[in-house]
């Protein structure tokens, strides 16, 4: 069972904001809304929501910038709401730290499913820990340390690392990872995986450009190796 999620919806268009707020509330979420990025950042500090649904096209600072500013301090999940489905939008959004994205006009049920999937990523499942080189994954505390120091991972990054670490040495395809981590159907966007792997590498690898831990398996996907 999942508890009631507390969402922050940042959306400038009033009709969309009202409609989505109503729809999400009916799905059983608690929702606060903001019309601009600045208001959204303020609400984030004041109310500490569990998850942010963020429109990309915002007056003032845009969604990507909001996303980057949130990521400087917080690791809470962010779902981008994008109307311009230009490739640039999606890629920039994923690079600025978003966990997932939905394209307008989104159905309330789809958005709800994405929100629940993101929320599940932070849930703990087992009570063991694993060590890969200097990285220690503590599945009980849901923490990852590198050389003893805590790593700040978003729930998505953590879930990706957990899924990979559960099958060390085994290559997982992007579509598999999309199902395991993002709970997307078979049409998942493989760029979500690529972007998340990049962010994860930046945090766990000694030299992110020549990864020793999360290896790319050409033609397949990714694999977690214990450095020998």
């Amino acid at each position: 069972m999942s508890r009631v999620a507390f969402l922050l919806l940042i959306e400038d268009d009033e009709a969309v904001r009202t409609a989505l707020e109503m729809s999400l509330t009916r799905q059983g979420h608690r929702v606060v809304t903001a019309a601009t990025g600045e208001d959204g950042l303020k609400l984030l500090r004041e109310q500490r929501p569990d998850l942010i649904v963020l429109d990309v096209m915002l007056p003032g600072i845009d969604g990507f910038e909001v996303c980057r500013r949130i990521r400087r301090t917080d690791q809470l999940p962010i779902i981008l709401l994008t109307a311009r489905s230009d490739d640039i939008d999606v890629v920039v959004g994923l690079e600025s730290g978003a966990d997932d994205y939905v394209v307008k006009p989104v159905q309330g049920r789809v958005l709800d499913a994405r929100i629940r999937a993101v929320m599940r990523r932070g849930e703990r499942e087992s009570n063991d820990s694993a060590t890969f080189g200097s990285i220690v994954i503590d599945r009980a505390a849901m923490t990852v340390t590198k050389n003893g120091a805590d790593l700040q991972l978003t729930p998505t990054e953590l879930r990706l690392l957990l899924e990979l670490s559960r099958r060390p040495g085994q290559a997982l395809s992007r579509q598999q990872l999309l199902r395991l981590v993002w709970e997307h159907d078979y049409l998942g966007d493989s760029r979500l995986v690529d972007a998340c792997v990049q962010r994860l590498r930046a945090k766990v690898e000694d030299v992110p450009s020549s990864p020793k831990l999360i290896r790319t398996v050409r033609g397949v996907g990714y694999r977690l190796d214990a450095p020998s």
């Binding site: 268009d13 009709a15 969309v16 009202t18 409609a19 989505l20 109503m22 729809s23 009916r26 096209m57 109307a83 311009r84 489905s85 230009d86 490739d87 640039i88 999606v90 890629v91 994923l94 690079e95 394209v103 307008k104 006009p105 989104v106 159905q107 309330g108 049920r109 395809s173 992007r174 579509q175 159907d185 078979y186 049409l187 998942g188 966007d189 493989s190 760029r191 690529d194 972007a195 792997v197 990049q198 992110p208 450009s209 020549s210 990864p211 290896r215 790319t216 398996v217 050409r218 033609g219 397949v220």
Partner: protein, 542 residues
């Protein structure tokens, strides 16, 4: 704008095989082009040089020839006349001092006297001595000139008495002969009044030597003229061809897409005019290309803006229709059908807007691919499964046919083909997946979607992929947008594949999708850019 740019192992970054061969072909072509250009230029140069040289040669040879012949004539005639005149006068003088009854000895003396001259000729005299007897022959220097050397024809002419013309009975005749390779003049005449016949013999070697040296000079002059003309032609060719070469280089740069290529205009000749024309054409071409790309950029911007403008209200409406749909059971029975209608039409409008935007993106060339390695059979199963078509579709496919493609676009194609077959042909629809070896090692994935319906009328068959084309009579207004098959085809083209339609022998329409296993899209590597709407696939299952 890759999401995994710094990863050296990223599968997208490598496309083994085709590259080197592709790289070789243009280089080979370029070398051949250079050779051809060189040959063409060389031949033009060659032609110029040949023409110049020929003209110079003809001019020099004819001038030298005429000069030589005129000179030769003048020199020979002068030498000849001088010798003959002297001979005649001396002969006359000596004949007049000859005794009346002269003997052979007198003649010998006379021959010696005549031969004592500045012109260095030898003399032979023949006369019948007064005392009768044998004709005596007096030779000034028998070693040089003997009577035997005088040609018979000359002797005959000299002795030929000419009474017809009043002047004299005998004329002075001459002939040129060659002895041991040297030219000589032999002249002869008969002294009037029964005098002796005298012959003179003089060498023309000095004149010959003069003429030879003249010929040599003329020959050298001709050769110099030809060489000069060749050099001149080279210079002219270089002068003419350098601008041509510059134009050729500029045209090549232009072909490589450097539209800012301009040439400096030098001089005011035809080539300068050509250069000016070139510059003008390039400038207008550049302007045209600029306009076109501006228009293209505007159209791309329009697509993006339209997408945003349409989607924002659609988002609000879609979210609200869900609420309305959930509440439809609690509504007034009079109102409920209206709400139902709004909900279903909103969904159709949504699909139509998505399809229209997809089509616009294809037209604007902004459609992008997100490539991934997928198992075709899995994709087909998932597509059927997601739309609850499992009972209506017979799938003939082996797992393990892996292709590199955009899964969402494949889903759009499959959903449209299978959905169309179900709608118009009725179930069961059979889907067959095959692999087919294509040319040069690449292989193609074949997906055949066959229905059991009446098939497609022949007059409709060529139009099934047209936008908004609906076979009105046999196919009543469906809930499709009329864009589905067109979008499917565009998606197949984007992958470098194709879709064809035909009727099976036992009735029923068959749509065949062909996709290359490795799309050849170098500029779209790696899993880069894409437009990702919900997709024009015919809606969600529920």
């Amino acid at each position: 704008m890759s999401v995994a740019p710094e990863d050296p192992e990223d599968p997208g970054a490598s496309r083994p095989g085709a590259r080197p061969a592709q790289a070789d072909a243009p280089r080979e072509g370029r070398i051949r082009g250079w050779l051809r250009a060189l040959l063409r230029l060389t031949s033009l140069r060659l032609r110029l040089v040949t023409v110049f040289a020929l003209v110079a040669l003809v001019a020099a040879v004819s001038v030298s020839g005429i000069a030589y012949w005129l000179n030769r004539d003048a020199v020979l005639t002068r030498a000849q006349n001088a010798a003959l005149r002297d001979f005649r006068e001396t002969l006359g003088e000596q004949a007049s001092v000859l005794p009346e009854e002269s003997s052979c000895g007198d003649y010998t003396g006379m021959a010696g006297a005549v031969a004592r001259n500045t012109l260095d000729y030898q003399v032979v005299l023949r006369a019948e001595p007064a005392e009768g007897g044998r004709i005596c022959t007096a030779e000034s220097d028998p070693a040089v000139f003997a009577y035997a050397m005088v040609p018979d024809s000359l002797v005959e002419a000299v002795n030929d008495r000419r009474d017809g013309d009043g002047e004299a009975a005998y004329h002075l005749y001459w002939q040129r002969i060659t002895v041991d390779g040297d030219p000589y003049l032999i002249g002869g005449t008969r002294v009037m009044g029964g005098g002796p016949t005298g012959y003179m013999y003089v060498s023309l070697a000095p004149e010959r030597d003069d003429l030879n040296s003249l010929a040599w000079s003329l020959g050298i002059a001709t050769a110099l003229a030809v060489i000069g003309s060749v050099l001149l032609a080279q210079a002219a060719a270089t002068m003419v061809l350098r601008p041509v070469q510059r134009l050729s280089d500029a045209a090549q740069r232009l072909g490589e897409g450097k539209l800012d290529t301009r040439l400096e205009v030098r001089g005011a000749d035809e080539l300068a005019e050509l250069t000016r024309t070139f510059n003008r054409s390039v400038a207008s071409l550049e302007q045209r290309v600029k306009d076109l790309s501006a228009r293209e950029a505007a159209s791309r911007r329009f697509v993006a803006d339209m997408s945003h403008e349409l989607r924002t209200p659609m988002t609000a409406i879609t979210a609200m229709t869900e609420v309305l749909e959930d509440e439809v059971d609690n509504l007034d029975p009079m109102i409920a059908p209206a709400v139902q209608l709004v909900v279903s039409e909103t969904r159709r409008l949504n699909d139509l807007v998505e399809n229209l935007m997809e089509v616009t993106r294809f037209d604007a060339g902004t459609a992008r691919m997100v490539l991934d390695e997928v198992d075709i059979a899995d994709q087909v199963t998932a597509c059927i499964d997601a739309r609850a078509w499992l009972d209506a579709v017979e799938l003939n496919a082996d797992r393990g046919i892996i292709a590199r493609l955009d899964p969402r676009r494949l889903d759009v194609i499959l959903a449209n083909l299978i959905g169309n077959a179900l709608k118009h042909g009725g179930s069961p629809v059979s889907v067959t997946i095959r692999e087919e070896a294509a040319a040069h090692g690449a292989s193609t994935v074949l997906v055949e979607v066959a229905d059991r319906g009446p098939g497609i009328p022949d007059e409709v068959l060529p139009h099934v992929f047209d936008r908004f084309y609906k076979a009105s009579a046999s196919r009543p207004r469906s809930d499709g947008s009329g864009l589905g098959l067109s979008i499917a085809l565009e998606n197949a083209h984007l992958h470098g594949g194709d879709i064809s339609a035909h009727n099976a022998k036992d009735g029923g329409a068959v749509f065949t999708l062909r996709l290359p296993r490795e799309p050849d899209l170098p500029e779209r590597q790696p899993a880069g850019a894409e437009s990702r709407p919900g997709g024009p696939a015919e809606g969600e299952p529920g």
